[in-house]
Symmetry: C2
Subunit: 200 residues, 2 copies
Amino acid sequence: MSTTAERERVPKQDRSRATRQRLLEAAVSCLAEHGWAGSTVAVVAERAGVSRGAAQHHFPTREDLFTAAVEYVAEERSTALRALFPQGAVEDRRAIVAALVDLYTGPLFRAALHLWVAACDEEQLRPRVTELEARVGRETHRIAIDLLGADESLPGVRETVQGLLDMARGLGLANLLTDDTARRERVVAQWAGLLEQALG
Amino acid sequence: MSTTAERERVPKQDRSRATRQRLLEAAVSCLAEHGWAGSTVAVVAERAGVSRGAAQHHFPTREDLFTAAVEYVAEERSTALRALFPQGAVEDRRAIVAALVDLYTGPLFRAALHLWVAACDEEQLRPRVTELEARVGRETHRIAIDLLGADESLPGVRETVQGLLDMARGLGLANLLTDDTARRERVVAQWAGLLEQALG
């Protein structure tokens, strides 16, 4: 049943998916570097080496492109994080805490932050970013629980892990204008120890 | 030695100081509500009921006005926080942690966040905001150490308090687009307990 048309469709789908990925990755870099004001579909299309028409075929609006981009890159990072610790809680908890904190100190966090702050003032963006933040937040919480081997049925464990992710977000913010790596490593080492005691 | 000129100078200085304060408070509200793009000296002058000329006499540039505003309001809040717990560490540590976290969930944090994010992309703003952030951060750390009665000469205590303030900053970010109060209160209760154990 493999017709010529079918054989040709597969590479075309592959090309389309590759174009989409290039656009999403370019959108996150663009947002991280230039903020919301400097991020348009046209700028991203040029950066990704894709025609403006093709970009608009994939993402009809600016809001579509940038929310999809932050979600895509967040998913990619989550998958990579899980792959990094296939044994989960059996592994070094301090290394797991450090890796969770790393989610918040790179270009993805910077891009997401620009999107959040823009969403404060842009009515079209706000509900989409609110929903995106909730989805990504739930997924990150689930990964943290799994990797840390935390038992959420015990009182306080859920809030302990939530607080850790809040701290990670705050550490990301502290890294926005200056390189906060040295201080951050000391804070992570200390709180990984406190977390170890709290989770038992 | 009290001449007429001297008697008249005092009320004039008072008026000038009151005008300055009105401008600074209006600038923080404006930044919190409209972000950096919507915040200019002219908009703030109108909001404060001050002529544009008078506003520019106090603050020659937009950068002057908004960095001064965030610093002024941060100082006001620090003073108010110290006044709230005159006994420091003798008082309920959970209440102190909650009050420290409150520093990051109101209009001041929202204004500061808009300024930080704008400073990523604006070369004129960046060094001033970096310096401001360091100054305000040091002062908040000092207050936290004093109020919590933490002994920084003990290993790990400095990092424990730093991590707490990072968590507070992350909780502020989580409150940006939605009202996160209920979740935040549970996290604060849990982490105040962990902090109590850590500080002894």
